[in-house]
């Protein structure tokens, strides 16, 4: 889009207008009669040879150390820099090409222009030492500051403005550079499902607030059938602390408000980004009835285009024991595998369609079958992912 716009711009006919010509009026410089434009001169940008937009091949004077090292030209060995003041009368073409003086461009009023830089007594070849050929000694060792560096007042500005003014400013400086907290509310899934003649709904959302290494998290998820009861609904409140560049340890509470009977859990898990860009959220839960369960969720964003993203997702539920009243059996209780294709109208707003296959195993499957339900099934999904 941007490219197209720029390209279109170029073709736009602009309105000609009378231009003001104000050249030659600057305070410092003077007019430049570019009368003799030699290739060398041109190569240095001092003038331009008509009909030769590309500069002439590098003349000897532009033989840099790097060039020489690559065999593109040869350099004569040069002595170490020896300050040798160049009188104005010796402004040769070579000299000018090095930028040490300027031929012909001098304002008539100042014949010494170009030699007026403080310390301008440069050897013209001073910069041509090969890197590391002889002159560059090894870097000195890493060391602590000398004692003098610790002398004097700790805060220089206090001597001028007083600590009374500087202390609050310093606290603000510290706070300003690295302490910014952020929040995000994200509904990763807000969806309806179709399948087995039953329409269902599901959500999964989270919120965080804090600095990058320490965050408070709220998470909620749930599902149910339209016209039926809420099958599962939970909310978690967690504290998250970074334990590695890509992972946070999260600890806190989980409360299930559906199904009946309700449960409260202690929650401990990790959330982060595994190699190959796999987002992982794995947690273990210990309920107020002493039941231990675990849930592992992994997903990956496969970018088909900049906006179209395919997201495979796998979720595994485990239990350490049978929980008949909740229909959960020991061991691997359920797996879920989903595939969602979303289109990011904006990164924050993406509708999607998808499909999900859920399967119960072992005693969990038996509990379901005993209740007249299927142990597994496929649902088709439509939903939206939103964050802000």
């Amino acid at each position: 889009m941007t490219r197209l716009l720029i390209a279109l711009l170029a073709t736009t006919a602009a309105t000609p207008a009378l231009a003001q010509h104000g050249g030659h009026a600057q305070p410092a410089p003077a007019p430049t009669p570019a009368t003799t434009c030699t290739p060398e001169h041109a190569a240095m940008g001092h003038c331009t040879i008509p009909a030769a937009p590309a500069p002439a091949p590098a003349p000897a004077s532009t033989c840099t150390a790097e060039h020489a090292a690559m065999g593109h030209c040869t350099m004569s060995p040069t002595p170490a820099p020896t300050p040798a003041p160049a009188p104005p009368s010796t402004c040769t073409a070579e000299h000018a090409a090095m930028g040490h003086c300027t031929m012909e461009q001098q304002p008539a009023t100042d014949p010494h222009a170009g030699h007026a830089m403080p310390g301008q007594e440069a050897d013209p070849h001073a910069g041509h030492q090969m890197p590391g050929d002889q002159a560059a000694p090894p870097a000195p060792p890493v060391g602590p500051p000398p004692p003098g560096a610790f002398s004097g007042p700790e805060h220089a500005a206090d001597t001028v403005f007083g600590a009374g003014q500087m202390d609050p400013a310093r606290r603000e400086l510290i706070r300003m550079h690295g302490r910014m907290a952020t929040s995000r509310l994200r509904a990763e899934r807000l969806e309806v499902g179709f399948g087995d003649g039953e329409e269902s709904y599901a959500w999964e959302a989270d919120f965080f607030y804090g600095e990058p290494l320490d965050r408070v998290w709220l998470k909620t998820e749930g599902e149910g059938a339209f016209g039926g009861e809420l099958e599962h609904g939970e909310i978690q409140a967690l504290w998250g602390h970074a334990i590695s560049p890509f992972f946070d340890l999260q600890a806190g509470l989980r409360y299930d408000f559906a199904p009946d009977p309700e449960r409260a859990h202690l929650a401990l898990g990790i959330q982060g980004l595994a190699p190959y860009w796999i987002e992982v959220d794995a947690a273990a839960f210990l309920s107020d009835e002493g039941e231990l369960t675990a849930r592992i969720e992994a997903e990956h964003d496969l970018r088909i285009t900049q906006r179209l993203i395919l997201q495979p997702l796998v979720e595994v539920e485990l239990s350490a024991q049978d929980i008949p009243e909740l229909g959960i059996g020991a061991g691997l209780s359920t797996t879920e595998a989903g595939l969602r294709l979303r289109y990011e109208i904006a990164p924050e707003f993406a509708p999607y369609v998808g499909v999900e296959w859920e399967q119960a195993y072992g005693r969990t499957a038996s509990f379901r079958e005993a209740a007249g339900e299927d142990a597994g099934g496929v649902r088709f999904l439509a939903g939206v992912r939103i964050w802000f």
Binding site: I6, A19, A97, G132, A136, V142, A157, H177
Partner: protein
Amino acid sequence: MIDRLALDRRSVLRGAATGAAGLAFSGLFPAWAQTGSPGIRPQMQTLSGTDIRLAVGYSNFRVGGRSGHAVTINGTIPAPLIRLREGQDVRIAVTNTLEEDTSIHWHGLILPFQMDGVPGVSFPGIRPGETFVYEFPVRQSGTYWFHSHSGLQEQQGHYGPMIIDPAGADPVAYDREHVIVLSDWSFLHPHQIMHKLRQEAGYFNRQRMTLAGRLSGDPEHQMSAEDRRMWAEMRMDPTDILDVNGTTYTYLINGHGPQENWTGLFRPGERVRLRIINAGAMSIFNIRIPGLPMTVVSADGQDVRPVTVDEFQISAAETYDVIVTPTEDRAYTFVAEAMDRSGMGRATLAPRLGMTAAVPPLRDRPILTMRDMGMGGMDHGAHGGGMDHSAHGGSAPAASADEPAPMSHDMRDPRNAPQVDLNPGVDMIAPAPVDRTGDPGVGLDDVGHRVLTYRDLVSLRPNTDRRQPTRTVEVHLTGNMERFMWSFDGVRLSENPEPLRFERNERVRMRLINDTMMAHPIHIHGHFWELVNGHSGNQPFKHTVNVQPGGTVDLDLTADAPGDWAFHCHLLLHMHAGMMRVVKVRPMDGGAA
């Protein structure tokens, strides 16, 4: 010497009476930045002389048909040009009409520490309604700029150019000059930009590698399967080049968007000096003028030996002066392409207003390489002692090149950077960083024409301090891309780290080691570094040094400015995230300055 005035009636009256450089400046742009500018001429309303008054305030800024909230100096983006002369004294009274603190830092100026304008380091800041008078002798010449050092105001328009004419004759001859201030404007509030990056890393990157791109054969999306696997394994995105880019930015040239097409005039045959300043908050630009070679004559305000190139990269806060000599009666397009090719600033140089030239399309977005990951010393070890960090350049034998055993390939091996606090805020330690001053910058390795590198810069003025540095100070540039955390040595300024301490007049070698895969323009206040680039004796002077991804830069420093100074990454949000330190030079008294 230091005045701290409340904005009372008296000072307002005095300001009105002085009349020099009016407080309120009419017009959308300062005169020098208006399109169709014939160049900077003395009759134009620049701010100069010994008494200058500036007012920081809220303004509306209009670009591309939209209007947004801005923080400006004297009401314009960019601010009025301040033009001084080497050797003069200047008093600059800055009045804060905002409802928050502000400040102005004079970027690249050598001045007393309390005039440097960094709240909490050099002074307390300028509170709402107050006026602070900066007063300092002007001891240098060249192209500089100034900007806020408070909050994120710089991103909102709080910046402007400064030219200091040399006391003697200018070694650079020119017939006409234009100031070209590059910047980045967003209608998002800068805090919002930072939030987005913290909420979703890579939020602004809409140029990622995609499956469709891969299948289409688009060169932007091609990468060997092994490379792709390696990047994915490391959870790094080879297209993450600029955190904030053309997705939200309108790139400005002298406050004009691409459509507004700022135009600077010339007469064919003239030597035109372009004073190019990158005032972008988060932007690195590639500069070229198709059809017109540029002769670089100055870098960061310091004269260098002329070197002619077709393109150069300018990192945030750097300045370059170039001479162009258009001989034809035609227009030329000045292209400031964002380093990640997500957009461009565009201006025109033309003999007459209204003329335009073709605007080249954006080139293919570059893809970072293993060299950008700090593995340059592994495949290039034999070419120049990249593996060897005890010596600069090729002085060390490359014997260790085929045997990288002592160097771990691990992307986060503490042995590769013992001084770094390897906390979760550090996602990577470059296993084999190399001196990249000979590289032209991300995306410019193979553009088919001459591109400037840091090794092309040779100071016109010989280095005066020829002492060998007595110690090395290493600073690792560290971060966590996914969490949008940035730091030095793994520690953010908010963790109140030990300052960098130098003894006054100490000669130090600083080695900046970029352990991230982003370029970082590192700026030191109150001093110029000498860039160690092989031109011993004429090492170029720099106030801001772009450290390329996975690269190192060696710098010689004469710590001759007593006081406290800021040292930070000049990508505004990186600094805001903590990539900053205080530099302390002591003792304060005694000893010749």
